[in-house]
Symmetry: C2
Subunit: 512 residues, 2 copies
């Protein structure tokens, strides 16, 4: 963060619902909510766009910008499925950077700077990682990348092209558009329908697509669908039964009241969503007349239920693509490649937010020509606690953890035979200098295992389990004043004379 | 913390109400409460005795102990009166150390070790401070000290003896007991009554004391009283009127129901509290017969209201002292001294807790003789964010802040005249070495003010306001290759040749 001129700060964890109402995010289902003794509605912040943008209101001179501010602190999410320890917790550690520029172009340059810093960081962690185009989701904004660690325990699916290097989160991939003959008119058997439902069970979503376009059992990009219907419940498989069970007929009087109070409709309704692969006739309002396609539930076809049709993306106004890509599908970015997918853990996410938050919160800048415009913002997070889990997972082997040097709590662990405690201390001194390293000026971070109740084998096993990059064993070789230097990652075990020890250990550590 | 062998950890901020119920602290009125999506009752931890003690359950071998664990993190309190920025916030930074020993004696030795470490820390901050015997209050335990910074903005009142050095929080001072003649029988005019009431307005507390024992307008130690009646409202002055207004007659049927549900009584009641300075007759149950003393409200005397009498301290079973001491009162610890009081800010608090938490939470240790006993615990906090406020307050002057070196973000600020930016950089290099100090190995932390839009006077004023211990000015003297070294704390301004600069600056910094 320092390499790109960012300054560190620390924002309050407790924030106010009123502030989040201004940006339309106060209804989030993963927010921890609380009230103070006066009844004020508070939130535990899962991220800080609102707080930090609010702070800049009034910092109007263009001389304050560019501004890059970051913090490392605890974040809170009332997760539906907390799992796997540090991988997805309800309380977690995050590094979040917020950038503010006076123009869109400057903000995009900043975005590139951040990408450079993130790549440098992940390179240093020596962890294989992917950078994927991502869906901005509920954060908003127009440009976004994820940094992911490929892992079978990951919850994200990443799609890569065999030829052009295109990499993206499955949710962000728009399938290749195959132009179709305007006179093409699928028979009703050629149309497939996928049903999903909202969490309140009052809205049934019928997704129509060309049956030949997907043979997958999960044809629909539910994440895309959720940008159209935010309350979508992605976990249900029996949407029609649930809709029927909770069916509430439309009542105009009730409806008018509900609409005034901004609460969700209390009656049942249908949203019909049309994939761009279908001919345009399917977006017409009289569509329901055609509803004798196979699998269309008679329960719905029989009734007059309020319904809406969506066939264009409301954000881009382009024809809507609601299908997921599958392994083997053609790459949407090149002419030759095929897509393959892999699961991965999201470690970091960069967003170019534009004026998504600065506009509603009125964070403006006065340009040199005196025009006042909203600031252009970016936000860039790294899941610190999650990264620790990913690194542990990525580098472990049958003997235990195996930290890359840059995150290892110590570079070297010194273990000595039970009767050689003093010799062990001499080896420690040879590595850091006599009397230890109280000022932290040594080039090596060394730990000496001084537990006198344990034998050498126990200590060696424990040092392996804890994952120190290098272990120095003071044992059999000591009669020749030699220390055994072990490095599991390099498959290395060698006896080194004490006089050469420090130099040799530094050499081994160089690329760890 | 390292100097006393404590290891750092980091506990979750979110904790559960169920855990706090086990130690009887879940009803605290300053707890921030929240629920997760499953309805589980959670708390934002204001302190971590429960969490950390819970972690040790099962670590039964005496070989694990002594154990000293600390963290530095955010704490939360739903304060009645948040005030003065960092001095009393609802979210604040705290260093909290928890110690565990196998015997009471070992725990007391640990307590002394911690006191030594705290004194070393406060000495290094170069802040005048007091160490005062304190009241353990709601934390429990039998031995407790506060570390305080005397300040007119402080909320604590500290009492010191003119002769013997005794220092204690006003709330912790037990007034000198003056033995009285067992035949002494005050007339009714010689008895004074102080009325207070609980927050729920259902319990009136009548505190009886010898009128001659205090002439103060605030005679009662309300903090002591609150240990007897935790719901006491210390802020009211019209207790009798409030009691009368909310008077609810006793209803045996209702009462039985309420008692079963563990909720507080819904009817009005009286607690009579007797200071030990009164003859013992006043602790007798038939006391209310005597209640024609002056100022006893006729409203109460007229009715049959359920009442309780307290004349001994329930924790120690000693006669109860409920009076506050006043300036000029005799010292309770020596024969000659008089007490004087001063206000102060509490910066740290040490508690010897004994088995207050380990017993209810079942945190046991198996001793060498195989007996299993509860661990002996201590907890020791430092208000980090509050300390920053106190240091700022303590060292500021008309020109701005003035940080002691040990907490200053930088030792030295270099400012240069507008046309001498390169010369300023040369001075910076002379102090830390060419190319800056990316590895943090320099003996000096130096900052260079590179703001090119500001003039020298502006930068000097700003450096003074920010409170750097030393400021190096590159200006008029530079034609002779001299730098002006300024130290406001020492009232020092001198021209130093560049070649001697580093040595001179280190000398000035030595005792800052």
């Amino acid at each position: 963060m320092r390499s790109i001129g960012a300054a560190r700060l620390s924002l309050s964890t407790i924030t106010s619902e009123a502030l989040w109402e201004k940006t339309g995010r106060s209804s989030g289902s993963e927010l921890f909510r609380l009230k103070d003794r006066k009844g004020s509605k508070l939130l535990l912040a899962p991220t800080h766009e609102e707080e930090i943008t609010q702070l800049l209101v009034g910092y109007i001179s263009h001389r304050y910008y560019p501004l890059r501010l970051y913090q490392i602190g605890r974040k809170y999410r009332d997760e539906r499925r907390p799992r796997a320890g540090l991988l997805r917790g309800r309380e977690f550690l995050m590094k979040d950077l917020y950038t503010f520029d006076t123009t869109e172009q400057a903000a995009l340059d900043t975005y590139r700077d951040v990408q450079g810093a993130y790549k440098a960081l992940f390179d240093e962690l020596k962890l294989p990682y992917l950078v994927a185009s991502a869906d901005s989701g509920s954060m908003g904004g127009s440009l976004s990348h994820e940094y992911l660690y490929p892992s079978t325990v990951g919850e994200d699916t990443i799609v890569s092209c065999s030829d052009c290097g295109y990499t993206a989160n499955l949710e962000a991939v728009v399938p290749k558009t195959e132009g179709h003959d305007p006179t093409f008119h699928p028979t009703r058997k050629e149309i497939a329908i996928h049903h999903s439902i909202t969490r309140d069970r009052k809205t049934l979503i019928n997704s129509f697509y060309l049956a030949s376009a997907s043979s997958s059992s999960q044809p629909i990009n539910l994440s895309r669908l959720a940008t159209l219907v935010p309350d979508l419940d992605p976990s249900t498989t029996d949407a029609v039964e649930l809709f029927e069970k909770h069916y509430t007929p439309f009542d105009p009087a009730h409806s008018a009241k509900a609409s005034k109070s901004h609460s969700p409709p209390k009656y049942s309704q249908i949203i019909n969503v049309f994939d761009a692969g279908l001919p345009s006739i399917f977006s017409e309002p009289n569509f329901s007349n055609h509803m004798d396609v196979p699998a269309y539930p008679s329960f719905i076809a029989d009734k007059t239920i309020p319904s809406t049709s969506i066939s264009r993306d409301p954000h881009t106004d382009l024809p809507l693509r609601i299908l997921r890509v599958n392994d083997g599908d053609p790459c949407p970015k090149c002419d030759s490649g095929k897509l393959t997918s892999t699961t991965a853990i999201e470690l970091a996410h960069t967003f170019h937010l534009g004026t998504r938050y600065t506009e509603p919160l009125n964070a403006e800048v006065q340009l040199e020509d005196n025009r006042r415009v909203p600031l252009h913002q970016g936000c860039h997070g790294i899941g610190v606690s999650r990264m620790i889990a990913a690194i542990a997972e990525g580098w472990r082997d049958g003997k235990g953890l195996n930290w890359p040097r840059v995150v290892a709590p110590y570079d070297v662990m010194v273990v000595a035979r039970e009767d050689m405690e003093l010799d062990g201390r001499a080896v420690y001194d040879a590595l850091v200098g006599e009397g230890g390293d109280p000022e932290g000026k040594s080039t090596l971070d060394v730990l000496f295992d001084d537990r006198t109740t344990k034998d050498l084998i126990w200590k060696m096993t424990d040092a392996d389990a804890l994952g120190f990059p290098v272990i120095c064993v003071v044992g059999r070789g000591w009669k020749n004043k030699e220390v055994e230097v072990q490095c599991r990652r390099k498959g290395l075990k060698m006896n080194v004379p004490l006089a050469e020890l420090k130099e040799k250990v530094e050499e081994v550590l160089t690329d760890l």
